[in-house]
């Protein structure tokens, strides 16, 4: 059976440390931006930690919510791309094809989670950062849309290795950069088609919710939280 990749994020464990954000930057060759550009909304964070504050001091409650591409099964971003630069692959991933993107940015407007980022200029990294680039991940040119890919390069590598070694991909073999680096072990990644996998069990638990579910996007990132 085909894999169906999904993720579970335990909001009760998340401390908002943003190690996942840094790891994603390192893994996926994300372009840098300075404070000026960030203020102009030009920063790139394929995974970001949204903070929601409730109440007044001293009874403030803060909720941290890491938001990344939800890889929706009925993604609103997919049908609006005029050139098929984003579509749904057989493993349930919403793939972004950098070569094909002409930059209409309709997909970004149609994403209710605002997880898509656009290359407004040619990306630049001050030396010696280009030495740190991940050779498995393309550097996107100017005018192209990008977003979280569930570290598809790691998925591909694990699948290739498993095939070479004549075995199945085990649960926990694929670890996207964010999942790997979370110190609170709040993130779990795996195959939703495997009922025994940790992510399937978490997704089926009583604490599992999904973001903006009523929009009918069928996201595959499950947020675990004890009550609201």
């Amino acid at each position: 059976m085909e894999h169906r990749w999904g993720m579970a994020i335990d909001l009760d464990r998340c401390t908002g440390c943003e190690a996942c954000v840094v790891a994603c930057h390192a893994e996926n060759n994300l372009p840098l931006s300075d404070p000026d550009q960030a203020e102009k909304g030009r920063a790139f964070h394929w995974i970001r930690v949204d903070r929601y504050y409730e109440g007044e001091f001293p009874d403030i409650r803060v909720k941290y919510m890491p938001v990344l591409c939800q890889q929706c099964d009925e993604a609103p971003c997919e049908p609006v791309c005029p050139v098929y630069a984003t579509y749904h692959n057989a493993e349930g991933l919403n793939v972004q094809v950098y070569n094909r993107c002409v930059g209409t940015r309709y997909c970004a407007n149609n994403c209710p989670y605002s997880v898509r980022f656009f290359n407004w200029f040619e990306p630049e990294w001050p030396a010696p950062l280009p030495l740190q680039h991940n050779p498995d991940v393309a550097v996107r040119p100017s005018g192209v849309m990008e977003k979280c890919t569930f570290c598809i390069q790691r998925i591909q590598r694990v699948k290739r290795d498993a095939q070479a070694e004549n075995r199945h991909v085990g649960d926990g073999d694929v670890q996207p950069a964010c999942v790997q680096s979370c110190p609170a072990e709040a993130m779990t990644f795996g195959d939703l088609n495997d009922p025994e996998s940790k992510v399937s069990r978490l997704a089926g638990s009583g604490r599992a919710t999904r973001l903006l579910e009523d929009l009918g996007t069928k996201p595959k990132v499950f947020y675990l939280q004890r009550g609201k």
């Binding site: 997919e78 049908p79 579509y87 749904h88 069928k218």
Partner: protein, 165 residues
């Protein structure tokens, strides 16, 4: 040869056409020239037109072609987007509609060129005069005198032979 008769209004042209009919001249031999569209009363010079039919036929053809093409293209390289079916009338209906209209537009323009005769070589035409209506008759040299007579009786201000330019 071609004769050109110069009239002041559509009624006299109608009289002329009616007078010429028993002499064996019908719509194919006659043509009216004017600087603005003239309605010959009695529909004496109505010519058959297939423009509407052509427009509808072309629109239907373009519709079918668009449908076949889109359906072929969607299945040729099938890519799933947003859980939508590969081919659906809802998602592709607009494309079909526009192509249908485009078919109608193309046919209208082509039929205009054909039915107006602009697409082929024509017989010589008289020089237009603002405010006058000119009637051109194609006749044999021997009939010229009789025809000229009938035209003058119908109210032609002048009847001249049209030079081949």
């Amino acid at each position: 040869m071609y004769l050109t008769a110069d009239f002041a209004d559509a009624d006299s042209v109608a009289r002329a056409i009616t007078a010429l009919r028993p002499q064996g001249f019908h719509a194919d031999h006659l043509e009216v020239f004017s600087t603005e569209p003239v309605e010959i009363p009695g529909g004496l010079l109505d010519r058959p037109s297939h423009m509407s039919l052509a427009a509808v036929a072309s629109a239907s053809t373009f519709f079918v072609l668009a449908f076949l093409f889109v359906r072929y293209a969607q299945y040729d390289y099938p890519l799933i987007t947003g859980g939508m079916p590969l081919f659906s009338w809802w998602a592709d209906g607009v494309i079909f509609y526009e192509f249908t209209m485009f078919g109608s537009i193309t046919a209208t323009f082509v039929m205009f060129l054909i039915e107006s005769g602009l697409s082929k070589r024509r017989a010589p035409a008289p020089v237009l005069q603002a405010g006058r209506i000119l009637l051109r008759i194609s006749c044999q040299a021997g009939q010229a005198a009789v025809v000229t007579d009938s035209l003058r009786q119908a109210g032609a201000a002048s009847v001249t032979e049209l030079e081949r330019t």
